[in-house]
Point group: C2
Chain length 383, copies 2
């Protein structure tokens, strides 16, 4: 297999956007193309990540994007793996370049859902669960993650304030990110006094629904060297978990994360302590806690205390979600996983501004679908 | 890149099915696994093709399927390229095996839409067009293909009866296919007297909406040799066209087909006359006519007459759609492209029964999305 690099990255602002799904996909893509210092004609294929194109009446987004970019003859496809779609689309783009099919491709994730309202969105999101066992029984994602949080609190004797610390830290980072959805600092008190969504999770334990698009250019190292700044993809892993929570032995770990992380670390030939920062899937505060343990940064049962002790802050032991994460940067479903890669690119090429992780050489991205039924982990390094 | 083979294939019946989308996906997958003579544990990853999971309230189908098959730890993803989703999912499965990521994977296409009614389905299908320019202007797919048919009739002076001959031939083949949706012979008279859907296309010029699932096992040749009967994937190509019809120079050719076919033929090192049968995308009769020309079987403008003269019949010059095609076998969107590969497998391994193409050594599959905005072509050969 060939070495693959990320050559450029772009994003719209995440939040409530007025433009159409096609337009925001094109805006992020154009941003990535410009950042990479390439021409659209250099792009040989596109990998779109999108889940609910039906919400904005545009499915089959690839040809629309390719036509807008002036390269309608190039092949495209859309990938859906629930909230993990972005990282899986990135992985397919990676596999096609590594495998020798293309030298330069674009991966763009996009979602436009806020105009549909929270009821529609929560209902449709529930179709990403194992609907027969979960969604139709009334278990939408806040309820499912609340079950995980309750199990974690019981098993490891942590407090709801410990979970709240994750949200506080991510808002602190997100406030420094000009493209973040919820760009404001919050306190543990704010989290604790926010409305209960599904006990023990309160509103500020939950990420928002966002509109947004992110895009990255992937290419061979040979191609990258003759263009702009680039980072190497040094590890890639994918895994699965039983689709329904009820099929799992424990609720306090996500099997797919461990499988994907193991593959990625082995491929890169590194251990978790060599990672300088991580963008992880924090759809709810409990998710980030579980992620940081499953990824090997902390022992099982100690992740919440580690967060409360400030060990995941911007320039601490292991900076987690320097971008603000899903919690503060926002969660435009299909875009999220590619937005993480864009953050890794920005961090490793000195473009992260106020939220920069000092001296970062290696970054990790971790993005899953549903309650972790599907997951991909990637590792990036400075060349 | 490594040689890739198709080792087994399975399908549900196409038509109006009662089981859930998850269940029919599992049925076809189990059929393919059994046909391949492998255990589910041999499968390292899955590639699902599906467009409207929302219609049956199950998106993120991969983990549900993997869990049902008893291999929940294996990675999965869903691919959407409108009606071309199946062939694109097959292509990604192919690329991952060829590129060395996995030795044995499953590609399963599925759709469950008939319970939603034709109005819902036609509306949602229109989201696969370039909706800003087409769908919201009232141009659903029958209207768009009617524009192509009208242009073709004007340019090449053919008759509506010539188009009808395509439907008659496909129904003749489909009547011999135990899994076909519309399993009955029809006459040119039947087509001509059927209700006008979008002039000049009548009801019998249009394929049906179908439920159904198809599945194939892909693997390295080394893996295949120690298992069941297999065929080689000898060519693979993908292409794109301007998303909206209005962006194209001509309405009587589909650019993406030509691009994808050229790549596939070059990779296989063959010319169109070496193809013994072809499964092509005949969502409407006009589509099959245009396909057979763009694929190089007939000169531009002569495909309709060739069909009317019987040159695409089961054991004639170039048998087209021996399965019955989308027109008679049915069109369960995500399943269609993988169903074509299943037919190629059956034809080349002596499992096609009454509809067998005598002495077939090389088969072609051609599947596109929307009005051909995305397209993939594959070539298969006996080992």
């Amino acid at each position: 297999m060939r070495n693959v690099c990320v050559l450029g990255a772009g994003s719209t602002r995440y939040g409530k956007l007025d433009d159409s799904i096609s337009d925001i996909a094109a805006q992020a893509s154009a941003d990535a193309i410009q950042g990479a210092g390439i021409s659209p004609k250099d792009i040989e294929a596109s990998y779109i990540a999108n889940v609910f194109g039906v919400a904005d009446k545009q499915v089959h987004l690839g040809p629309v994007l390719m036509s807008t970019l002036g390269i309608p003859d190039r092949p495209s496809l859309s990938i859906e793996s629930a909230c993990g779609s972005g990282s899986i689309a990135f992985r397919e783009a990676y596999a096609n370049v590594a495998g020798g099919f293309y030298d330069c491709v674009i991966a763009t994730g996009v979602e436009k859902v806020t105009h549909t309202g929270t009821n529609w969105t929560t209902t449709y999101f529930a179709y990403c669960s194992d609907f027969f066992y979960e969604g139709q029984a009334g278990a939408s994602f806040p309820g499912l993650f609340a079950s995980m949080a309750r199990a974690y609190i019981e098993e490891f004797k942590i407090t709801e304030e410990d979970l709240a610390a994750v949200a506080v830290k991510n808002h602190e980072n997100g406030a420094k990110n000009p493209k973040a959805h919820l760009r404001k600092g919050i306190t543990v008190e704010d989290v604790m006094s926010s409305a209960v969504v599904a006990s023990p999770l309160k509103l500020y334990d939950c990420c928002p629904f966002s509109d947004g698009a992110s895009s990255v250019i992937l290419c061979t190292e040979e191609f990258a060297k003759s263009h702009g700044k680039y980072v190497r993809v040094v590890g890639s892993g994918r895994g699965g978990s039983p689709a329904a929570l009820q099929g799992r032995e424990r609720l306090t770990t996500i099997p797919s994360t461990k499988i994907a992380a193991k593959q990625a670390y082995e491929m890169a030939g590194i251990t978790p302590d060599k990672v300088d920062f991580a963008e992880v899937h924090d759809c709810f505060t409990i998710a980030e806690v579980v992620d940081t343990e499953d990824l090997g940064f902390f022992e099982k049962g100690t992740g919440a205390r580690a967060a409360a002790d400030g060990r995941t802050g911007l320039n601490s032991d292991i900076p987690v979600n320097p971008s603000g994460g899903l919690k503060s940067k926002g969660h435009p479903i299909g875009a999220t996983g590619i937005g993480q890669v864009a953050e890794a690119y920005d961090q490793l090429t000195g473009r992260a501004g106020e939220r920069s992780v000092r001296g970062a050489e290696v970054g990790l991205t971790h993005n899953f679908g549903a309650t972790g039924a599907s997951c991909a982990v990637h590792l990036f390094a400075r060349p």
